[in-house]
Symmetry: C2
Subunit: 362 residues, 2 copies
Amino acid sequence: MKNSNSKTSALSEKEGVAAPEILKTKSAAAIQGLRKKQPSAEELISGILAGNITSLSRAITLIESTNINHLAKANTIINACLPYSKKSIRIGITGVPGVGKSTFIEAFGTYLTGLGKKVAVLAVDPSSTISHGSILGDKTRMEELVKDKNAYIRPSASGETLGGVARKTRESITLCEAAGFDTVIIETVGVGQSETAVHSMVDFFLLLKISGAGDELQGIKRGIMEMADAIVINKADGENIAKARAAKVEFNRALHLFPAKNSGWNPKVMTSSSITKEGIEEVWKTITEYLKLTSDNNYFEVKRQEQNQYWMMETIEEQLKNDFYNNPTIQKLLIENKKAVQNNELSPFAAATVLLEHYFKK
Amino acid sequence: MKNSNSKTSALSEKEGVAAPEILKTKSAAAIQGLRKKQPSAEELISGILAGNITSLSRAITLIESTNINHLAKANTIINACLPYSKKSIRIGITGVPGVGKSTFIEAFGTYLTGLGKKVAVLAVDPSSTISHGSILGDKTRMEELVKDKNAYIRPSASGETLGGVARKTRESITLCEAAGFDTVIIETVGVGQSETAVHSMVDFFLLLKISGAGDELQGIKRGIMEMADAIVINKADGENIAKARAAKVEFNRALHLFPAKNSGWNPKVMTSSSITKEGIEEVWKTITEYLKLTSDNNYFEVKRQEQNQYWMMETIEEQLKNDFYNNPTIQKLLIENKKAVQNNELSPFAAATVLLEHYFKK
């Protein structure tokens, strides 16, 4: 199981509620037998801390499980791994479909392992239930990295809300770091709200763009450009080179119109090619410059603390809302009151008051 | 009381918990006597619908009151006014302090009343407790508009959270519209989160900027530029003209890099001067173009409906959070758990779970 750091072997570890097909044909007794072989939390923790990829994959599977019985075990593992999660750099990579995220990560990840780094690639893709794992799913695009023993690629947890997927990815980062991965790349699908979630769990946020064909005008969600610590104009090869350079000038100009970042960092614009590998080194150089700056001014640590607080509050507030909106009386009243608001019979505030009174009376 | 549409007379209507100084020196019986003279909800409603400014001011004072006994009366009035609130245009105006918001509104508002429009100017300024009414407070800057009988200027409700101030401003819009004001301008102080709140209650969002002196690089909050339906480079007079025109070119270029708006509207960049009045007419022309476009494609109505839903949900979620965070046990646990998260002893999710279990057990 030494080389189990590919997408396929990670998937074969899946367990819990969604039992692998092969299990479904076995008897309950056989399943019970298999289940008994599951390593304990302690075994998984020591495996992870020793850098064992199988232990890491199994623990992430526990985190991803929707089986309530796995939750306590998962939490024990996460809390044990937490003290070891500080020595990494977390890089978020976003961009619309077609921008070349997978090939960029392949080239960038391979460059990093060449420098002696250990690279984990995770993803936030709440849409993957529908698209059946649209990102990190196309292994052919990450052929080299998948075989690289210093890389670990794990597809996105699926079948959940963004909040659920984000939480699982975030906790998977902790485990990867405890397993010795010093560079964690989080890919986002580039649609929906996943960029914001990823931005809130990484140290450095990179936006991939391509030049030409009106790409500047559409595709990426509003507000994403302002989040970026770097914009990389990808596919800057062959006939695209001139256009990519023009786009670089344009984005550089635009970035100057944005307000200054709390980090003190001025976002950079670069071009890159996953084919010629041009620009890949420069991206890493930029990230190390960022690391130097934010370590010196302490922003790196401050941001991580803020992110922790953010996720704690976010989890709380999501659950408070869930409890409210899943209440059957509320659901009924909500429909009625929404209609009254729509028909200008009731102000939004008055409608909210009606619902809140019912909820807190329960 | 016919001319009571100035800031001063609006303020003199304040009542409720924060009793005017003069009342504090009177006996309880005298206060009771004064209170008895308060018009009923029905009287205020018919006054508002007849365009009576005194009734409007008194009703807004009820909305702004923190006295719980005024709430039901305020809600009755709001709900009665709702059906009359559809025929207006709501314009949000933001910009950092010093950009000339007051003088711009003075010039723009006066231009509009000259066209026969009835203009109400409201403000969202949750900081006004500290700054003692920093916006709309300096009457000398709106000398003309204050005296204009087709204008109604009301300073921001004070002493509250942003949520509270925003709710009150939003409901005041309804009353102004029911009183016949067809153009409602909402000013924001340009700091904090008030821009987002104002953006969520207006049809058209206008960002005021000034050119030169590094203004492009700082001051305005992140994300605001993307919200703008128009950017107006203000103070484009005298020596500033050339710089303002250069800034216009620059912003125009930058806006093209943003994703398309749901409204189908391409944000415009203009220059203006509150001294020479240049550009003021063009701003209004732009807004009428926007109105035409969004009426034709139905976005205008869709957006208002979405805003109503947004404010209903926002109110609900704010109250859910208040109930949670004001719980004394939670407050105690929150401090402990935040510390544990900070020290990497507990994951943010595990910490949230502890708090939620306590809350829902109560």
